[in-house]
């Protein structure tokens, strides 16, 4: 299995994703520079990492989505390739229209960096298939614009089609207002496109995947991806 990690100017979780994929999970992993628009068919999965691509100027992801690599990412998505956008990567995928909805500034207006609990809403996606339904994953968040928004119709369509993958929850997996760190509608923390080959998530699975720390809940996302590709 071969993974690509896209590097935009201002990406800063690119090394972390690379480290987990290559050194912890032992996958063959390569960098993809944002000016490179060559086909991505050689990869089994492509990760758009977190960070502040183009400084998050104008809106997070607004400028990055016009990088040449995004043409290749879009072609890859249309062919059914697996794409995982984390944090800023999620923001870019939304701006590029590869995922539904948008991300607003956190309700508190502050950057928030802390571990939160999320509950797995569906296991019928390549990104969650190794999880148990309703399992609680403890994952760190680190963002200022992670307040997910979509209009009612879109939300309904997503719910019907199983496109909400993770919701912020309490430690017992209950989706409550108190467990919502940023104001996201319906506590949504991760979504997929209709075809379920593109996932965007605000929490950082790569920050909970190295066994040097006690919490490795984030491995579930990567393991799901590995299983999906193997099958």
């Amino acid at each position: 299995m071969k993974c690509g990690v896209v590097v935009f100017p201002g990406s800063n979780c690119d090394h972390d994703c690379y480290h987990i994929l290559k050194h912890i999970l032992g996958l063959s992993t390569e960098w993809i520079w944002h000016k490179d628009d060559a086909d991505l068919d050689r990869f089994d999965a492509v990760v758009l990492p977190g960070g502040f691509s183009f400084g998050d100027y104008l809106r997070p992801g607004a400028i990055s989505r016009f990088s040449p690599v995004m043409k290749a990412v879009t072609r890859y998505a249309n062919k059914g390739g697996h794409i995982l956008g984390i944090c800023n990567g999620f923001q870019i995928l939304l701006e590029a229209g590869l995922l539904p909805g948008a991300l607003l500034t956190n309700r508190s207006q502050k950057f928030i960096c802390k571990p939160v609990a999320t509950v797995v809403e569906t296991t019928e996606t390549p990104f969650t298939r190794s999880c148990k339904k309703n399992a609680v994953l403890k994952l760190p968040i680190a963002h200022k614009q992670g307040n997910y928004f979509a209009d009612t119709e879109t939300l309904q369509r997503m719910a019907d089609n199983g496109q909400v993958l993770l919701r912020y929850a309490d430690a017992a997996g209950q989706v409550t207002e108190a467990a919502n760190p940023n104001g996201s509608v319906g506590n949504i923390a991760a979504v997929a496109n209709e075809r379920k080959n593109v996932m965007g998530m605000m929490p950082h699975p790569e920050r909970a995947a190295d066994p040097l720390w006690p919490n490795v809940d984030g491995q579930a996302i990567f393991q799901s991806l590995i299983e999906s590709i193997a099958s």
Binding site: L58, R59, A62, I63, F66, L94, E95, G101, A102, L104, T105, R107, Q109, F149, A150, D151, G183
Partner: protein
């Protein structure tokens, strides 16, 4: 030609910054304030385009980059004297 562009949240999208400013104004005794919307203002200098073309181009800029139409709406004016 100068394009003056305002980008604001669409109705129905929570605007916490606007809310915070609203509260602050009320705290300062501006009790007549009923609603505050906070947005972005951009000025874009254009050259070598007719008013008609500019209209079309600026609208395109807003759709493509300057506003995220999932959450934001935009309006603009064109000032030919600038």
């Amino acid at each position: 030609m100068l394009a003056k562009i305002h980008v604001t949240f669409k109705n129905g999208v929570l605007d916490p910054q606007g809310k915070a400013v609203h509260h602050a104004l009320n705290d300062l005794g501006f009790n007549e304030v009923r609603d505050v919307t906070l947005g972005k203002y951009l000025e874009i200098k254009l050259e070598g385009v007719s008013a008609e073309e500019a209209e079309h181009r600026v609208s395109d800029m807003c759709e493509k980059l300057l506003a995220n139409t999932v959450i934001e709406s935009y309006r603009y004016t064109l000032d030919p004297t600038d």
